[in-house]
């Protein structure tokens, strides 16, 4: 019975006179076991030769770990098993290196076990600390929520009062305006005012309609100065709110990208020096950044006047885009900013219109006087200011509380692993300085690569993957002519929390290694201990019948 290449636990399988192929395809008589001819396609009959492509060879490796080889390694002139049992055709003499290799491997295992032991201790503490910290954070949230509720009601009340005040002041303003400018009021103006009010009510469905109206208004020549003023204010508002604006800038970027593939580039190449042209063409393969040369080529090929104006357009578009978020914020605060809006508006008004505004602003007392005439219970100006102040303070406080709530909720809703072992990662960033770059990996946030003052985002946090063995960042800055950058941080057990290496195996796909006690699992310690015990048992070399 030739049991070469058979694992001890499988020896029984080969005892009968007729043996079945494991895949059930057929049977073979015992003398065909290891006869160097493949009868079972799955390799059952040739565990000890390389006759069957799918067979596996078991080497005992007494003194070290057993190994299971592909049959392609049997008698191929390369010593794969430390006991040399895979090379028996006499063409090569493999020294038995199992004891040395075993020693080495045991040393390594011991070291590893040490790290795991220490690491798992740290991990235990970390997990405990995290639990406490988490409880603290959860505890903090309860009173904060209470405060939020209270502050909200205060702020709401104050806003109401303030609104009443504002309304009253607006009435006064309207009165004044009517006094000075009534001759100019015309029907279309009234209609415009009504329209505007209606629009405000229907804010949610406005986008397309607004666009239409805007075009409508623009196409109608504004005959009345007041209407013009109104229109200007609309436009300012609309442009700021127009969701198309930020897209415009994106479109421009796209255009820049595309231009690299259009014929225009070809003409531009003609304007470059020999070297520059060489670099631009080489960049097609390499992806080297040659935008500086291209910009030059564009500048030279374009009409200088046109190019200046196009830059202006671009910067304007950018400015407009920048305006937008502020305005959106303002909206959140309700109508208290109407005053400021008006002041923007005033700048674009004709002298005539400005005059009533300046009068209104310059004479608050007169205004109030008039106001009190028409009101049954007078409001005094200091009261108005006090309310405004209180409102500001309360809403600031509310804002503060709310942002802390958001922060805590954001923190608490994250996934911190099975034992919450990654809780402390929340506020941490890991850094590694390479020759050229500094890598910064911030869990739950993002990962970057810095070179001097320039920062490239390698990706935004996507979560843990591979059963909490990796952290994944995706959708980083796009590579020239390539994909968005991404990073996978593989975590390994270590006593120190540190970023060990960052590599880029494929262009723009980064892989980093982080050592952390969080990966030093207690269960793994047990497993390693078991492995060590197995390896330390001296194995009986004489069992080897080869």
């Amino acid at each position: 019975l030739n049991l070469r290449g058979v694992a001890p636990q499988d020896e029984k399988y080969y005892q009968s006179a007729v043996i079945k192929c494991r895949d059930g395809s057929k049977s073979f008589p015992q003398e065909r076991l290891n006869d160097d001819f493949c009868d079972c396609a799955d390799g059952t009959d040739e565990p000890g030769t390389n006759a069957c492509p799918e067979a596996k060879f078991y080497c005992r490796n007494s003194g070290h770990r057993p190994l299971i080889l592909f049959s392609s390694r049997v008698n191929d002139g390369i010593c794969d098993c430390c006991d040399g049992s895979d090379e028996y055709d006499g063409k090569i003499n493999c020294r038995n290196t199992c004891w040395e290799a075993g020693e080495k491997s045991r040393e390594k295992l011991k070291k590893k076990l040490g790290v795991y032991k220490e690491g798992s201790g740290i991990r235990k503490k970390d997990v405990e600390n995290s639990r406490i910290l988490r409880r603290q954070h959860e505890g903090e949230l309860v009173p904060l929520k209470r405060d939020e509720k209270h502050l909200k009601s205060v702020v709401d009340k104050l806003r109401e009062i303030k609104l009443v005040l504002l309304l009253e002041m607006s009435l006064v303003a309207a009165l004044l305006w009517w006094q000075c400018c009534r001759r100019r009021i015309t029907r279309p103006e009234k209609e415009a005012v009504e329209k505007e009010e209606k629009r405000a009510r229907e804010e949610k469905e406005r986008l397309e309609k607004e666009e239409r109206e805007k075009r409508e208004r623009e196409s109608t020549p504004a005959k009345e100065a007041s209407q013009q003023a109104e229109d200007v204010s609309h436009q300012v508002e609309e442009q700021a709110e127009d969701p198309k604006i930020p897209r415009t800038t994106e479109e421009e970027e796209e255009v820049v990208d595309n231009s690299e593939h259009t014929d225009e580039e070809d003409d531009e190449l003609a304007n470059l020096t020999e070297e520059e042209r060489g670099r631009v063409i080489a960049a097609r393969w390499t992806g080297e950044d040659v935008s500086d040369i291209k910009a030059k080529a564009e500048a030279e090929s374009a009409n200088p006047l046109e190019s200046t104006s196009s830059y202006d357009d671009e910067s304007e578009a950018l400015d407009e885009a920048n305006v937008q978020p502020e305005d959106v914020e303002d909206e959140d605060y309700g109508h208290h900013s109407a005053y400021e809006d008006a002041s923007i508006e005033s700048e674009s008004l004709d002298d005539d219109e400005a005059s009533w505004w300046s009068r209104l602003k310059a004479a608050p007392s007169a205004l109030l006087k008039m106001f009190s005439f028409s009101r049954s219970h007078p409001v005094d100006i200091s009261e108005a200011e006090r309310i405004r102040k209180e409102f500001r303070e309360a809403s600031d406080k509310l804002q503060g509380v709310q942002s802390r709530i958001t922060e805590l909720e954001d923190r608490l809703k994250q996934d911190y692993g099975k034992d919450g072992e990654f809780y402390s990662f929340h506020d941490k960033c890991f850094e590694l300085k390479d020759k050229k770059y500094t890598y910064k990996v911030c869990p739950f946030k993002d990962a970057t690569q810095q070179e001097g003052h320039s920062t490239t985002r390698l990706g935004r946090w996507q979560g843990f993957k591979d059963d909490y063995k990796s952290m994944v960042y995706e959708h980083g800055d796009r590579c020239w002519n390539g994909p968005e950058r991404s990073l996978r941080v593989k975590m390994r057990c270590g006593t120190k929390l540190e970023l060990r290496s960052v590599d880029e195996p494929s262009r723009c796909e980064y892989v980093a290694e982080l050592s952390t006690p969080a990966m030093c699992l207690e269960s793994k310690v047990k497993e390693l201990e078991r492995q060590l015990v197995v390896q330390e048992i001296p194995q009986d070399g004489s069992h080897d019948e080869l």
């Binding site: 895949d23 395809s25 006869d35 160097d36 001819f37 493949c38 396609a41 799955d42 390389n50 006759a51 069957c52 492509p53 799918e54 592909f70 049959s71 392609s72 390694r73 191929d76 002139g77 390369i78 063409k91 014929d263 070809d266 190449l269 003609a270 020999e274 070297e275 520059e276 042209r277 060489g278 670099r279 631009v280 063409i281 080489a282 097609r284 393969w285 390499t286 992806g287 590579c479 002519n481 390539g482 994909p483 195996p505 494929s506 262009r507 723009c508 796909e509």
Partner: protein, 885 residues
């Protein structure tokens, strides 16, 4: 593709002018025909020339060679500047095959030379030349009257010879000197050849009433992201065309390395109706400059034409065995750790591979023959470690030399004056990978010899005997030059302008690198150098690949006609980058590419710097297993491949063959280019679309074909919609063939050396089959001295016989092997013969058993249609016979 960076015909002076010429506009007639030195010598006179017209007449030389080759040379009687005749393309032995023409027959205004089996007729007025076979005309020159020859002349006053394209001006110091003419192929349905371009196998008409097309262009160019179906030329040029019809195959070769364009003329409407006896294809050839040195090949069959052409330009070099296996490449394996990781990956997944490649980033600043000191600090140790598993490495060496005064290659080349010069006589300076670069003048044999020395172990620091070479960018690619190459008025050795040598530059560079490996290996280690650029004759120096293709289905599809075309022009050791160079193939496309690539003569996976990693195990199951299966398929067939490589080495035949090469009278097969024959016994049909469920397979011939995986048979002469799965592409073995395989899995081909053989016999209707096997040491040139084994296997009368096919006096050296035959598989047996029984090995008198079994050893393969003879234990190198039935 940056179309506008390349010249169209209407932007090219000679092309524009010739293309607008009228049929019959040629004004040359023949006078003074005589015989000198066994050649016909005649004078060509232009009708428009006065008696004392400047420029004078032309001299035509007509000579003939054994085996149906006719050569015509035409030159100015009084050459102002010697026209460039491309050296080192025509093999020296050709002269020995020249026939001494004894007699010239003058008759009816024509001169006729009678050769064995064919005649050449030179018609005097107008000048026309016909190659005939009795009454049958085979080939003609100037039958359509498009022969024009711009004689060199002085610049006229006020004349401007400058030719400006985009920002580049070609000064054309020697003025216009183009040559154009028509060649007709008689009895032809199609013409083929003229690589390299990404088009179908047949050369469709480019000129005619309803055709709007550029002509086929031969101008070696580094085309960024080349497109499918375009007549524009790519990286290499072979100005040879083959015509084929049911009864006749002929060929034509114009030895000229200048820019060339060729029109295939559409049949005219009137002609179609007329009682034309034989079909004919007319072609119009035009070149910017250079010499008129043309060869006509009379066939009669496709293999004859290839044999004739390769007897002029040389047979394929015999590759090292490892080079016929799988190659793993990427731009770039980053550092030594990456190299070891990839190497280990193949072992981990039990995937065989033979060669690991390093692209340009392995160098120190793109200075070839150097190593990046940080990324590759220990190149020798690295190669040794890879070589310990029988594997090799390849590094890239390009022809542009960094103009860096601390770079020894540059310093020497500069001081020795080895660079190509610009029109002002200074070293040409162009932009390529390293930045400012100069280009070695490889036309100069002295430069080639100097370059060859750079490959010695002492000169190429960090190189070992297990390192081989890759030449890229040798069109030459010059990023900032006109059409991404160098100026045509640059000057080479001997005052030759670049315009004259352009298409052959890459060939000379390739040749110089091969010379380097020959020297390094003391002329007994077969060189392996892969080149991107090529020319007529490249087959005798090394392998080429189809350049920077794309990871898309169209490029997978077009790889087949591209490689078939190369094979028809003698260049058989070629492949396309598996997976596609640019872009990211999805798992299915990559799998299909590995499945098809397993049958390319050159099998290499490669990828661009910007692509995702795609080592064959990275795509998960089932893809990893399927790619592994493709690799194993290739390795199992290596004995068959190697036998075919030897056939190419002996008689020039390609490995990848269009169906009509083996079935020349099967009209249906003439335009098929989505399937091909590997040798004559394996039929391969790729799968070129996503989620394909079936493929239309045409089975040529009258005998059946056997599915290599299932043994199922399909009768010949029919088209079958064959169902396909992701598991495999359709591949069949011809009935009547015997294919030698080595079915055992190994890490690389090196470990297979002593593994036993499996012989797969596909029986035809009369229970007969035949096959060959060639074996040698796989690396040295000892085979040229007889150190090889060549066996013939025949099956007849129920008996398999092995006999020696090598001649008795093959040489002084010997090669032996102890390899056994472990298994004989018989396909095509009728059920009455399909039963387990005893088989007699007659030579040894022993009995072994034959059982029903699978033709492929894989899990889940159960076959009831094939008989397997177990362990006959006969030596592959011995004579023996086995009585099977």
């Amino acid at each position: 593709w940056k179309k506008d960076e390349f010249k169209r015909c209407d932007q090219t002076i000679f092309c524009r002018e010739y293309r607008n010429l009228d049929i019959g506009s040629s004004k040359w007639y023949v006078s003074d025909v005589n015989l000198t030195n066994g050649k016909v010598r005649a004078r060509l006179v232009n009708e428009d020339d006065g008696e004392a017209e400047h420029g004078g007449s032309l001299i035509l030389h007509l000579s003939a060679y054994q085996d149906g080759i006719v050569r015509v040379k035409v030159k100015e009687a009084d050459q102002k500047k010697k026209r460039f005749e491309v050296p080192d393309v025509i093999v020296k032995e050709l002269e020995e095959k020249r026939l001494w023409i004894q007699r010239l027959i003058e008759k009816d205004g024509a001169s006729m030379v009678v050769l064995s089996g064919h005649e050449v007729v030179l018609l005097h007025k107008p000048f026309q030349l016909y190659v005939r076979n009795g009454k049958e005309t085979l080939l003609s020159l100037n039958a359509k009257g498009l022969f024009h020859f711009e004689r060199q002349r002085e610049k006229r006053e006020g004349e401007n010879w400058d030719d400006t394209f985009r920002s580049h001006t070609d000064t054309r110091p020697h003025g216009p000197q183009s040559i154009g003419f028509d060649v007709s192929f008689y009895g032809a349905d199609f013409v083929y050849g003229l690589p390299e371009r990404a088009t179908g196998l047949t050369l469709k008409p480019t000129k005619g009433a309803e055709i709007v097309s550029e002509p086929y262009r031969l101008f070696n160019s580094d085309i960024f992201e080349y497109i499918y179906e375009s007549p524009f030329g790519l990286y290499g040029a072979v100005p040879v065309m083959q015509s084929h019809g049911e009864k006749r195959t002929t060929g034509f070769f114009w030895l000229n390395a200048a820019e060339m364009v060729v029109d295939v003329l559409a049949k005219e409407k009137a002609e179609e109706g007329a009682a034309e006896e034989v079909s004919r294809v007319d072609t119009h050839w035009m070149a910017e400059s250079g010499a008129f040195d043309a060869f006509f090949f009379i066939g009669p069959g496709p293999k004859d034409v290839i044999r004739q052409y390769t007897s002029v330009t040389g047979k394929s070099i015999m590759p090292q065995f490892f080079a016929t296996a799988y190659h793993q490449c990427r731009w770039n394996y980053k550092d030594e750790a990456d190299v070891f990781q990839v190497d280990a990956g193949f072992d981990e997944y039990d995937m065989p591979y033979d060669v690991l490649w390093l692209d340009i980033e392995h160098t120190d600043g793109k200075k070839y023959f150097t190593w990046d000191p940080v990324l590759f600090p220990n190149p020798k140790e690295m190669q040794d470690k890879i070589a310990a598993k029988g594997r090799k490495m390849v590094t890239i060496i390009d022809p542009h030399i960094k103009r860096d005064n601390n770079y020894y290659i540059h310093k020497e080349a500069q001081s020795k004056g080895y660079y190509i010069k610009n029109k002002h006589g200074a070293d040409f300076d162009g932009w390529c990978w390293p930045g400012s670069s100069s280009y070695l003048d490889m036309l100069n044999p002295e430069v080639r010899s100097w370059w060859a020395d750079k490959f010695s172990y002492s000169s190429y620091q960090g190189s070992t005997p297990n390192l081989y070479i890759w030449n890229d960018m040798n069109e030459p690619s010059v990023f900032n030059g006109p059409e991404a190459t160098m100026e045509r008025d640059n000057i080479h050795y001997g005052g030759v302008e670049h315009r004259d040598v352009h298409n052959a530059y890459g060939y000379y560079f390739h040749m110089a690198s091969v010379e380097g490996l020959m020297k390094r290996g003391e002329n007994n280690d077969r060189p392996f150098v892969l080149s991107r650029s090529f020319f007529a004759g490249t087959q005798k120096v090394g392998a080429i690949w189809t350049g920077d293709n794309n990871a898309d289905w169209d490029h997978l599809r077009v790889s087949v006609p591209m490689l078939l075309t190369l094979g028809l022009t003698g260049i058989t050791f070629a492949g396309a980058d598996v997976g596609g160079f640019f872009g990211n193939p999805d798992a299915e496309l990559l799998t299909r590419w590995y499945q098809l690539g397993a049958y390319y003569p050159f099998y290499r996976g490669h990828a661009h710097l910007d692509t995702k990693r795609r080592e064959p195990w990275l795509f998960g199951e089932p893809y990893t297993s399927l790619i592994r299966e493709s690799l194993h398929t290739r390795y199992a067939l290596l004995p068959y491949f190697y036998t075919l490589f030897r056939e190419a080495n002996v008689n020039g035949l390609p490995l990848m063959r269009p169906l009509w090469m083996e079935y020349p009278s099967d009209k249906h097969s003439f335009a098929i280019d989505d399937e091909f024959l590997l040798g004559k016994d394996i039929l391969v049909h790729g799968v070129y679309s996503e989620k394909a469920v079936s493929e239309e397979v045409y089975f040529p011939g009258s005998q059946p074909w056997f599915d290599v995986r299932t043994g199922a048979s399909y009768s010949g002469g029919q088209t079958v919609q064959v169902p396909v799965t992701l598991d495999s592409i359709p591949v069949y073995q011809r009935a009547g063939s015997i294919i030698p395989r080595k079915d055992r899995f190994r890490r690389s081909s090196f470990q297979m050396e002593n593994d036993p053989y499996t012989l797969v016999i596909a029986l035809n209707g009369t229970y007969e089959a035949r096959g060959e096997l060639y074996i040698d040491d796989g690396k040295s040139f000892d085979f040229e001295k007889g150190a090889y084994i060549h066996r013939l296997f025949t099956f007849a009368d129920g008996r398999l016989t092995s006999t020696n096919l090598a001649p008795g006096n093959k040489g002084t050296k010997e090669f032996t092997t102890s390899c056994l035959v472990e298994r004989i598989i018989l396909l095509g047996l009728k059920s009455k013969d399909l039963s387990s029984h005893r088989v007699l090995v007659e030579s040894s008198g022993t009995q072994v058993s034959a059982e029903i079994g699978p033709s492929l050893l894989r899990k889940g393969y159960h076959q009831t249609n094939s008989l397997v003879v177990r362990m006959p234990k006969v030596r592959i190198s011995d004579d023996w016979s086995i009585k099977v039935l």
